[in-house]
């Protein structure tokens, strides 16, 4: 996954993947409608609390990158509009977007997500394809890292920057996609996978009281943010 997971499963990890996804999607969509910094800050506060409860530990480099990114965006916004409230709202909205991702992605194992998706009318092939993307994305990223290392060793002796990019990264990645396809297809079929046949599912996630509680809290936050934006709290 893109986010480093907590070392042990917290209550956030145990929530139904669709509940977490709904909150992530809902907050992202709602943040697009808000312009009041205090309302956006409230959404951000909820997401931050979830983030802390899930014991997600982003690396220092990632925090630094996010801070620089948000700082640059805020600075550019302020420079363009000369309106601190507008710049703050833009920055907070982006922060909501960034934090809404790990609510689901950082606390849900690919296997859990695919198990939840197995209950939907999606074809089994589609569900397994999704699982394959999550499973092999890090492997592919590691391969790209090695390609870049090989390119660093070659230096400028092997042509200009474009040639090196093309021959050293683009072409190997295309071969990599085909290699993965051949190997994974064979391995999947050897494990009895058929895109047409139905599959059973071990430990399919089911929604419970904790999910209802989490949804209610999220809904409460959304209502409060809405009140700050359009109700008596708005200037």
């Amino acid at each position: 996954m893109f986010w480093s997971e907590a070392s042990r499963r917290t209550v956030i990890h145990r929530l139904h993947p669709f509940v977490k996804m709904a909150v992530g999607i809902g907050f992202t969509g709602f943040a697009l409608c808000l312009r009041e910094p205090s309302a956006l800050a409230l959404l951000l506060g909820f997401l931050l609390s979830t983030f802390v409860m899930a014991r997600l530990r982003p690396s220092g480099r990632r925090i630094l990158f996010a801070a620089l990114f948000l700082g640059a965006v805020t600075g550019l916004n302020f420079w363009a509009a000369r309106d601190p409230s507008h710049a703050a709202a833009y920055c907070l909205r982006l922060a909501v977007f960034l934090l809404a991702i790990p609510v689901c992605a950082g606390t849900t194992a690919p296997q859990e997500l695919t198990r939840a998706l197995a209950r939907t009318p999606l074809p089994p092939g589609m569900v397994v394809a999704l699982m394959l993307v999550w499973r092999f994305f890090p492997l592919m990223a590691a391969e790209v890292q090695q390609m870049r290392q090989a390119a660093r060793l070659r230096g400028r002796a092997c042509g200009g920057a474009l040639t090196r990019l093309y021959r050293g990264l683009v072409v190997p990645m295309a071969f990599c996609v085909l290699d993965y396809t051949d190997r994974i297809t064979l391995a999947l079929e050897l494990r009895g996978f058929s895109p047409e046949a139905g599959r059973t599912c071990r430990r399919q996630p089911a929604a419970g009281a904790a999910d209802a509680g989490f949804l209610l809290l999220a809904l409460g936050t959304v209502l409060a943010a809405g009140w700050l934006q359009w109700g008596g709290g708005a200037p």
Binding site: C104, A129, V133, F136, L188
Partner: protein
């Protein structure tokens, strides 16, 4: 698209192409977003994204291939952001509709290039439309010429990426890894 249409290999290939698209986007997009130039992210992503899409479409060939690849990609993006998922699907549907009705699939070289370019070009208006729905006064201000220039830039990079994809497809064929039609 019916359940029995696609083989295991086609699902896997579509998944790997989607993984490559995700990888390219995750490397390139963070560098373009802070600049806040309309269409820049799409234009930069279009170069490499259409490269992989063309190879994917050449390999899959059948009608619905673009929807299969972008559908898997959109599902992955759903866990990241529904907005991204929305415009990925919009681009995929546009490209698929045009290519399925005009070319009946992705045989030859024109249809895959057309599909990849339309996908990239379709994403930007969809993203603008989605943004306009949420922030009408802000996005309503963007002049038409900005939109046209951005689309032209996306067209140029997506076409370049697609042609590069065709070139690499020939190399893949030479290495015995991809079967090209005469």
């Amino acid at each position: 698209m019916t359940t029995s249409t696609w083989t295991t290999r086609e699902y896997v290939f579509a998944a790997m192409t989607a993984a490559a698209l995700l990888l390219v986007a995750s490397i390139l997009i963070p560098f373009t977003l802070p600049l806040r130039i309309p269409g820049l992210a799409n234009a930069v992503n279009g170069l490499f994204g259409s490269f992989f899409l063309v190879i994917g479409l050449i390999r899959l060939r059948r009608p619905g291939s673009l929807i299969l690849i972008t559908g898997i990609y959109a599902l992955v993006c759903l866990a990241i952001s529904p907005v991204i998922s929305g415009f990925v699907m919009a681009g995929g549907i546009l490209g698929e509709l045009v290519c399925s009705s005009l070319f009946k699939g992705y045989r030859g070289t024109l249809a895959p290039v057309c599909g990849a370019v339309l996908y990239q070009m379709g994403m930007f208006p969809a993203a603008m439309l989605l943004s306009f729905c949420f922030l009408p006064e802000r996005y309503g201000e963007i002049a038409l010429w900005v939109f046209i220039v951005a689309e032209a830039a996306i067209f140029a990079t997506a076409l370049t990426g697609s042609l590069l994809g065709l070139k690499v497809a020939r190399e893949l064929a030479r290495a015995g890894r991809l079967r090209l039609e005469a």
